[in-house]
Symmetry: C2
Subunit: 107 residues, 2 copies
């Protein structure tokens, strides 16, 4: 399993809406994530909207993203999430996720 | 297991040194982390020095921190790491870690 860390920025004024949406992520979206290799996936939010994602995957970040691109439910989910994010410049959130460098790990 | 997300800020001019130090974390420090409930612990770095930590613990963040406070190796490690971090205001890095709110998880 490869460990992936990603970062995004939620608009501060949209934080509560973003959190509510993530309490009820569509079951089809969760199934698609599992099917395309997004395991042990968590999202963590700082109070200014900084969003940190962590997941483990048998593939790599690019392949996991490509897997979700083929899922029609993802297109709908990303369209629903787009208004919550800062500075996406017309891109979807999943196209704007910045992969971080893992600099330390212990099991 | 509780999942913990934390954030810190490495000084941009110290990033390479910080990365090198984390390629050779002292074995005694790793053992102390494992012993005090820091499992599956990863650190991820953005190129501006933003640092995200993720770990899983049978206790909670405060208890995991307290466990490490009792380890003398941690005092030495934190003293060695202090110059790498921004705005610690005289506090050690482990006293400045900001715990993030988990807003989503799938297994």
């Amino acid at each position: 399993m490869k460990r992936i860390g990603i970062v995004l920025k939620v608009r501060k004024e949209k934080i509560e809406e973003y959190k509510k949406a993530h309490e009820k992520v569509w079951p089809e979206m969760k199934e698609a994530l599992s099917r395309t290799g997004w395991h042990n996936y968590s999202l963590f939010l700082r109070d200014d909207g900084l969003l940190f994602g962590y997941f483990e995957t048998p593939v790599d970040f690019a392949t996991a993203l490509k897997g979700m691109e083929k899922e029609s439910i993802n297109e709908k989910w990303q369209a629903a999430m787009a208004p919550y994010f800062e500075a996406l410049g017309g891109r979807r959130a999943d196209e704007s996720m910045l992969e971080l460098e893992e600099v330390f790990h212990i099991d």
